[in-house]
């Protein structure tokens, strides 16, 4: 077991290195130069040249990459080209926003997916099942940016029930914080609902066909009790797995959601870094996101292996 975890962790190193190379080369073959971003209206050929020198962007790419990797190995992700803020501190200030948004979205999706999934499995191939399936399909098909616009239009602009954008930290006002997250959470949660409820239904059906349930039933337990007690407990593991594997997709959704709702999280950090050519910030935050995804996948594998003894750590 320990050996298995160690092996997987060691495997992360080449993957992380590949992620670094890809990010670095992607951003450096991109047209445009961060000096222009920084200088903006004031950009002139001389000013651009001077700034390039100051930022070390006039060195060959290979040596820039070498310097970067060396500093990453020393635990230093560098600092923003725009304002000199350290990338680590940028990530630390933005992580709570994304984390809270993601946790809320997962929670909301479970709140909807668990009952619908269970009901659908309890009465498969009935209208309940069809409705739940339809809901799942709708949720997966709605473009999140469109949904965001619709929600803003209806609930923020027309009805004025919720603020349309921005962020209030939890320690400033709990209500304000949650109020600002209502619409973004819904946008982010909907696709998750779709996947989770369908997986739950499928797993439940499978579990319920297994013999021990037949046995339980034979012993006279009521059907609802069977579903809740034996079925759900066993079917939850794949659900956890699905959520773990959706971390990557969740981060993609976060990018759009945070941009539309002006939430100062990781997604916005990445998008701004792309468009500002802020190399260190982009590299640092993408590396961080990639590591989160990899670790989430590892966690999923471990849970799986732990729960299902048939899987061996070879």
């Amino acid at each position: 077991m320990v050996l298995f975890v160690l092996r997987r962790l060691v495997n992360l190193i080449p993957v992380a290195f590949l992620v670094l190379i890809v990010t670095f080369s992607l951003i450096h073959v991109a047209p445009g130069n961060p000096a222009y971003t920084i200088l903006g209206e004031q950009a002139s050929p001389t000013a651009v040249r001077l700034l390039d020198q100051k930022m070390g962007l006039n060195h060959p790419l290979v040596s820039q990459f070498g310097t970067y990797v060396a500093s990453v190995l020393h635990g230093n992700l560098g600092s923003s080209l725009l304002d000199g803020q350290s990338v680590t501190s940028l990530i630390i200030t933005r992580l709570p926003v994304t984390l809270e948004l993601s946790v809320l979205a997962v929670a909301l999706s479970l709140l909807i997916a668990l009952p619908t999934g269970i009901l659908a499995a309890y009465r498969p191939n009935t209208w309940i099942d069809s409705v739940s399936r339809l809901l799942a399909l709708l949720g997966a098909a709605i473009p999140n940016f469109w949904l965001a616009l619709l929600l803003v239009y209806v609930f923020a602009v027309t009805l004025r029930w919720a603020p349309s954008l921005g962020w209030v930290p939890l320690n400033v006002s709990v209500l304000g914080n949650l109020g600002h997250l209502v619409l973004p959470t819904i946008v982010l949660a909907l696709p998750l609902v779709a996947i989770t409820s369908r997986v739950l239904r499928g797993e439940l059906l499978e579990v319920m066909h297994r013999i021990y349930i037949q046995v339980a039933r034979a012993k006279g337990v009521k059907e609802w009790g069977v579903v809740m007690h034996h079925g759900v407990r066993n079917a939850l593991i794949p659900v956890v797995t699905v959520i773990g594997l959706q971390v990557g997709g969740l981060l993609g959704g976060v990018v759009i959601t945070e941009s539309i709702f002006s939430l100062p999280g990781m997604g916005q950090l990445v998008v701004n870094a792309i468009f500002n050519r802020d190399y260190p910030v982009l590299q640092g935050s993408v590396l961080f996101m990639a590591l989160v995804v990899l670790l989430a996948n590892l966690a999923v594998d471990l849970i799986y292996a732990w729960v299902d003894p048939r899987i061996r750590y070879n």
Partner: protein
């Protein structure tokens, strides 16, 4: 739109942002008369159209930074609402030696917010720092004509220029005249932009990027009794629609720009106040004069005639802009309302025939990918299509746009300029041969000499004549197709008092109370 730094992808905004910098009607303000006088205290929540880039005036290029600077830093000279230069931290000055020596007399008893005395040494420290190439300050080009600086005493600065430069005082009303505490600059080094210290009415407290920036009252401000507000919170909102919405819902008390489509409904909304004034900026197309087919002046002139500026104004600005024909907006003393060219398909086709392509030609138009710019590019495309000129639209992100425009790697682009108070700042670097903002690579010896004479002359009426002559040549040679002068439109809630709109669009909160 303007050469501002976009910070967001949803920055639908540049256009609207600076578009919110121009105008058709003279300043109309609907500030209600107030019962009582100023009250000290309160927090003002301000919506701005993009986040700040840096809070160091020495390192700033982004337009938006100036919204913070105007309240943290008191410029050496200030601008009146009609963009006239007035004394501020410089109480008076003399210009001698044929316009090459400026002697500046500094106000006594002023301190930076960290207690450091404001004096000649501080001014010299700032300017020497900015002139040092190693610091790569965007202010360096502003000070390029300076041959020497000296401080005969603690409250006097003598600036010697290499050549007469009429716009020098105007620079001192901008970022070059915003002096930072030398103590703070030394203490923070390269991260000074996150810890600004000036002499202004408000001092910096906190800046969470893309979220908010907080200023608080400077209790030791040199103007006794001011400012009134305890606290200012800036919130960047990159979508114009959302920014306006934030004002309507009360999330912010004042916004720096209003979407054009909402301006008319705003006037009838009794729960909001607003003002509009012509801005200093404009939107234009830059045509690369060194590459075919726009190398041919007749092709450029054809575009000039084929664009219906009035129709664009109605469509894109809901009639709130003013058709533009030069770099000098109605807010500038150099503005000439008689300088214009007609909208005429016939004249356009004549020019196409003269150019040798009577059936038109095609070119690529570069612009940023914000919805507003994309809409404007399509409108231009549709207009030019009517005379046979085919436009291929290339939306790119803002950095790519600037890189290509400045590198000369383009045929035409849709850009703009936020505008500065002195006409020299809006023309010299753009129109003279080899000028640092001359993206079209335009060269005309007559324009060169007119603009040089204009910057060296001292009389405003003489300068105005030179600018007028230069502008006429530039209009007809068309290295730029000027489209619209953009208005400044700002709105606030009724509990905000004492606010005044300026053509530069900067929101000054020294005299504001809530």
């Amino acid at each position: 739109m303007t050469r501002k730094t976009p910070l967001m992808i949803t920055a639908a905004t540049f256009l609207a942002a600076t578009l919110a910098a121009c105008g058709s009607s003279p300043a109309k303000s609907s500030t209600a008369p107030t019962k009582s006088g100023p009250v000290v205290g309160g927090t003002l929540n301000v919506g701005i159209n993009s986040d700040f880039v840096t809070l160091s005036p020495a390192m700033s290029s982004a337009l938006i930074d100036r919204q913070a600077f105007i309240n943290i830093f008191d410029p050496l000279l200030k601008l009146s609402p009609t963009m006239q230069i007035e004394p501020n931290l410089i109480t008076h000055w003399t210009i001698t030696n044929g316009g090459t020596t400026y002697t500046l007399y500094l106000r006594h008893g002023v301190k930076f917010q960290d207690g450091t005395p404001f004096n000649a040494a501080a001014v010299l420290y700032n300017w020497h720092w900015e002139m040092n190439p190693a610091n790569a300050s965007p202010r360096r080009s502003n000070l390029a004509l300076v041959s020497s600086l000296s401080a005969p005493n603690a409250h006097e600065v003598v600036v010697t220029l290499k050549a007469p430069f009429a716009a020098f005082l105007s620079l001192l009303a901008g970022r070059t005249g915003m002096i930072s505490s030398p103590t703070a600059m030394q203490k923070w080094g390269s991260s000074y932009g996150l810890h600004p210290v000036g002499t202004g009415p408000f001092m910096f407290v906190q800046w969470i990027k893309n979220d908010h920036m907080i200023l608080k009252r400077n209790p030791n401000y040199w103007q006794k009794g001011k400012p009134y507000l305890n606290k200012i919170v800036y919130t960047p909102i990159t979508s114009p629609v959302q920014e306006y919405n934030a004002l309507v819902t009360g999330q912010v008390n004042i916004i720096d720009s209003v979407p054009y489509q909402d301006v008319s409904s705003l006037a009838s909304n009794s729960s909001l106040r607003s003002a509009q004034t012509p801005g200093l900026g404009y939107v234009d197309m830059e045509l690369n004069t060194t590459v075919a087919p726009l190398k041919n002046v007749h092709n450029r002139e054809a575009i000039n005639y084929a664009i219906n500026r009035q129709a664009l104004n109605q469509l894109l600005y809901f009639g709130h802009a003013i058709p533009a024909y030069s770099q000098f907006s109605p807010a500038s003393w150099a503005y000439n309302p008689n300088l214009k060219i007609p909208f005429s398909d016939t004249l356009a086709k004549q020019q196409l025939a003269k150019a040798g392509n009577p059936n038109g030609f095609s070119f690529n138009l570069l612009g940023d990918n914000s919805p507003t710019t994309v809409q404007e590019m399509q409108a231009i495309q549709s207009e030019l299509g009517k005379v046979g000129i085919k436009v291929n639209i290339q939306p790119v992100d803002f950095t790519t746009l600037l890189t290509d425009a400045i590198g000369g790697n383009y045929q035409a682009d849709l850009l703009g300029w936020s505008g500065r108070p002195d006409p020299d700042q809006n023309s010299y670097a753009f129109d003279t041969t080899g000028g640092s903002f001359n993206d079209p690579r335009y060269s005309n010896s007559q324009v060169d000499s007119l603009l040089l004479r204009a910057r060296e002359a001292t009389s405003q009426s003489v300068r105005k004549q030179y600018y007028n002559q230069a502008a006429t040549i530039v209009l007809h040679q068309a290295p730029y197709i000027f489209l619209e002068y953009t208005p400044v439109i700002q709105a606030w809630s009724p509990n905000v008092h004492g606010f005044k709109i300026y053509p530069d669009g900067l929101m000054r909160f020294k005299n504001v109370w809530k």
